[in-house]
């Protein structure tokens, strides 16, 4: 074990240069010990390699990429060539067709690029989340990453400006001696809590809407379409609240993530909730089959929404702050009841 560094006294005039301060010179003698002091804990840099070794190999679909890229590239070349030949030959119709082809290729490429870009953003978000979780929750506050830089990254990702009141009140509350864990608590309260509430309101509203729509829609096919549409829209908006812009692929990926979460991680929760859900659905079904169906769809949407909140929130919820389905159930049910009542009156 290396010795702890001794104290050091500084003079008050601006940056004290080592030449004028004798005590600083004395401190220099300890430089070898400084190399391994707690400031520069340099030994956790090999963990990425270890992680990479443990993780399952990442699948890169090189073949698909090559075919896709090749098709796009060759299509471009062919269209350009035929455009060139047709302008030489004066065949305007063929030229116009190849122009349209070029345009289509360009649009496709642009869409692909955008998707890739957004996917990258999703990945970065996931990484930030991982960092926040690992370093803040694990207590092992890595000394080389300042919690404030992570906080700032989060701020810019959530689209808050530097003088947004939430960020300002966070800065006001934060003090230099706060540990990573404490900083995380403050971030959760000052930056994320307002968004949580907005997201909750959104989930309540949209699941209520879905419930009503499914209840009044006449066809199963329409039900399915409605569910898909509302759910994806909700996912988008929740992600946007937490600072994520979703493209098609990233949305799919998130959707898959959420579904997987619901299927595996949430299994126990489902068991406890499902009983209650079934009960209330039965109750509703006794009143009216439609309402029962609607309630089921609404609750499913609500659960998906809550899961999406948990998946996209940059800092994981504290155990007692996690939004629960039980809170939403009543609201959905009330919305349906209103509908039922007004239908009866008619």
């Amino acid at each position: 074990m290396s010795d702890p560094r001794p104290g050091q006294r500084f003079t008050f005039d601006e940056p004290p240069t080592p030449a004028e301060d004798a005590s600083l010179q004395a401190a220099r003698a300890y430089l070898p010990t400084q190399a391994s002091d707690p400031y520069t804990a340099a030994d956790d840099h090999d963990s990425p390699a270890l992680d990479a070794a443990i993780k399952p190999p990442r699948k890169r679909r090189w073949g698909l990429m090559a075919v896709l890229g090749g098709t796009l590239g060759l299509g471009t070349i062919e269209a350009a060539q035929s455009l060139y030949i047709s302008t030489l030959g004066g065949d305007w119709l063929a030229g116009a067709w190849s122009l349209v082809g070029l345009l289509a290729v360009g649009l496709g490429a642009k869409a692909l690029c955008r998707e890739l870009w957004r996917l990258r953003k999703l990945r970065r978000h996931a990484r930030l989340r991982q960092q926040l979780d690992d370093e803040w929750v694990g207590g092992e506050a890595a000394t080389d990453s300042n919690p404030m830089t992570l906080a700032d990254e989060l701020r810019s990702q959530m689209g808050l400006s530097k003088d947004h009141p939430h960020w300002q009140s966070f800065l006001h509350a934060h003090q230099t001696h706060h540990t990573a864990q404490e900083t995380r608590e403050l971030i959760a309260h000052y930056l994320l809590h307002p968004r949580d509430q907005a997201a909750r309101r959104l989930v309540t509203r949209m699941s209520g809407e879905t419930a009503v729509m499914v209840a009044v829609s006449p066809l199963t096919l329409v039900d399915m379409a409605l569910m898909a549409w509302r759910n994806i829209a909700m996912l988008d908006r929740i992600a946007a609240l937490y600072g994520l812009q979703l493209g098609y692929a990233s949305r799919l990926r998130l959707f898959r993530e959420v579904l997987r979460n619901m299927a595996f991680a949430g299994a126990s929760e489902m068991v406890s909730d499902a009983g209650m859900d079934l009960l209330s659905m039965n109750l509703a079904a006794k009143l009216s089959t439609r309402a029962g169906q609607g309630l089921g769809a609404g609750l499913l949407t609500a659960r998906l929404g809550l899961r999406a909140m948990r998946t996209t929130r940059p800092v994981a919820f504290e155990r007692d702050e996690q939004p629960k389905l039980a809170d939403l159930r009543r609201e959905v049910w009330q919305q349906l009841r209103r509908l039922d009542d007004s239908a009866e009156k008619r």
């Binding site: 074990m1 010795d3 702890p4 560094r5 001794p6 104290g7 050091q8 006294r9 500084f10 003079t11 008050f12 940056p15 004290p16 080592p18 301060d21 600083l24 220099r28 002091d37 707690p38 400031y39 506050a141 000394t143 509350a173 934060h174 003090q175 230099t176 001696h177 706060h178 540990t179 404490e182 608590e185 403050l186 309260h189």
Partner: protein
């Protein structure tokens, strides 16, 4: 009488509804109990206005409305001298509050908005917080209750390290002239006891903390009474018990034993019964930096003192029945005080060191399933964290004023994460600079992590 009864009844109702909390602020002398209590009252008085209590959930959610000092239940005990402490902090130059010389009590009433409306009860609630301040020296008498005179004598003399021995040597030589069975004159006894008290005082000056009996250091109203004229008898052990018990009542051993018993029964026990039995929560304050400054033997001594001390409290889960009739401590905070005397990046080490200092009691607490959390704490922050450019490196530093008023900009040195070898003290040692408090204004006192400690100790009652 009737008033007394209604008062007791009200207390019982409050305890039954879990609206009353007795917080034990435990710490040896100079651990910072008075500063903690002063800051606690100050922060809670200023809560919701200008106190920075962001880690206290109810304050962060703007539900804590504030606190008031109310008249305490026992009118026979002095009130905690909050105003005097504030006066000395607000003086120019500011000074730390005077060390405590006697027991004082404080009752605070906290008002807060509940998280959910409680129907007819409205949405505000109150919590009564009872606090006691006392000299830390007396606290070390509590472990005395486990001993009789013989085992105490043995334990006292066996536990001494070489450095501690050095202060007791002169007294031991004086006692060695007498044997356990001879009759010693009253005046000679008083002389020897005074000598013993003197050796304790010297050891305290040198930084030791495990010193018994505590009243010898701070006699209070017992100054000069024969009950304070006893001392451990060297050279006796468990093997001699039968022979010693058979000695006549006038023998040195019997006289000392009688006085020891009297001390136990009439000084320590009432103190324990009145003030230390009924606690719900506890915070143990430890001056880790002071112990580091003082050296390895004193560090070990402090660790032992705290371990024996914490055996005197009742720990365990609470239920309605024992909340009413035999309260137990169901949650505990341990805090390394004076955290403002090191730079913020050293706080993690300070906490680790504190945990290793209290390793034994923590194991027992885990066994009793009582949650414990360690904090680095500064009840009243005396310094400001700064950064200094030195040798082309950014270097953390502290800015404040020394005890003599000299402005300082220092890096106080590293805090080790575990106790270094004794050899290290001979080579380098620690020299954490003491600071005087920053000038206090009308706003709340600056602090480090008081809010986190409060959240841990009573956050669950402020919902």
């Amino acid at each position: 009488m009737r008033r007394q009864l209604t008062h007791e009844f009200q207390n019982l109702i409050d305890r039954g509804r879990d609206r009353q909390l007795r917080l034990a602020v435990t710490g040896l002398s100079r651990a910072g109990k008075t500063a903690f209590l002063t800051s606690l009252v100050n922060q809670l008085r200023h809560a919701g206005i200008d106190a920075r209590l962001d880690l206290l959930k109810s304050a962060r959610e703007e539900r804590l409305l504030g606190a008031q000092r109310v008249s305490q239940p026992d009118l026979g005990i002095p009130r905690f001298p909050y105003d005097e402490a504030m006066t000395s902090l607000e003086a120019s130059p500011p000074q730390w509050p005077e060390p405590t010389r006697g027991i004082s009590e404080l009752r605070l009433q906290l008002r807060y908005k509940t998280r959910r409306a409680r129907g007819l009860l409205g949405d505000t609630a109150t919590l009564t917080l009872d606090l006691i301040d006392y000299p830390g020296e007396w606290l070390l008498d509590l472990p005395l209750l486990e001993h009789d005179f013989l085992s105490w004598s043995e334990a006292q003399l066996k536990g001494m390290g070489p450095a501690r021995q050095q202060y007791a040597q002169a007294w031991q030589d004086a006692v060695a002239k007498h044997s356990a069975d001879e009759t010693v004159e009253e005046s000679r006894l008083a002389e020897l006891a005074a000598h013993y008290a003197d050796s304790l005082r010297q050891a305290r000056e040198a930084g030791f903390s495990h010193l018994q009996p505590g009243r010898f250091l701070l006699p209070g109203e017992l100054q000069g009474a024969p009950v304070l004229q006893f001392f451990p008898l060297p050279g006796v052990g468990e093997d001699d018990r039968q022979a010693l018990e058979a000695l006549p009542a006038s023998s040195l051993y019997q006289v000392l034993k009688k006085r020891f018993r009297f001390y136990q029964q009439h000084v320590v026990k009432p103190f324990y019964r009145e003030y230390f039995r009924r606690f719900d929560r506890q915070i143990v304050l430890v001056d880790v930096l002071g112990a580091l400054n003082a050296g390895p033997e004193r560090f070990e001594d402090l660790s032992q003192a705290l371990a024996t001390l914490m055996r005197s409290f009742n720990y365990g889960k609470r239920s309605l029945m024992n909340r009413l009739f035999s309260p137990r401590i169901d949650r505990l905070a341990i805090a390394a005080t004076k955290a403002d005397h090191v730079t913020p990046d050293q706080h993690a080490n300070l906490v680790t060191l504190l945990e290793s200092l209290l390793a034994e009691p923590i194991k027992d607490l885990r066994f009793a399933n009582v949650p414990v959390r360690a904090f680095s704490l500064a009840s009243i922050r005396a310094t400001e964290p700064r950064e200094v450019e030195s040798d082309g490196k950014r270097q953390a530093a502290l800015r404040g004023h020394g005890l003599d008023g000299e402005p300082l900009l220092v890096y106080p040195g590293d805090v080790p994460a575990k106790l270094p070898e004794p050899e290290f003290w001979r080579r380098q040692g620690f020299a954490f600079t003491p600071f005087r408090p920053a000038p206090a204004g009308p706003e709340a006192l600056p602090h480090i992590r008081m809010d986190a400690a409060l959240e841990w100790l009573m956050g669950d009652k402020l919902r």
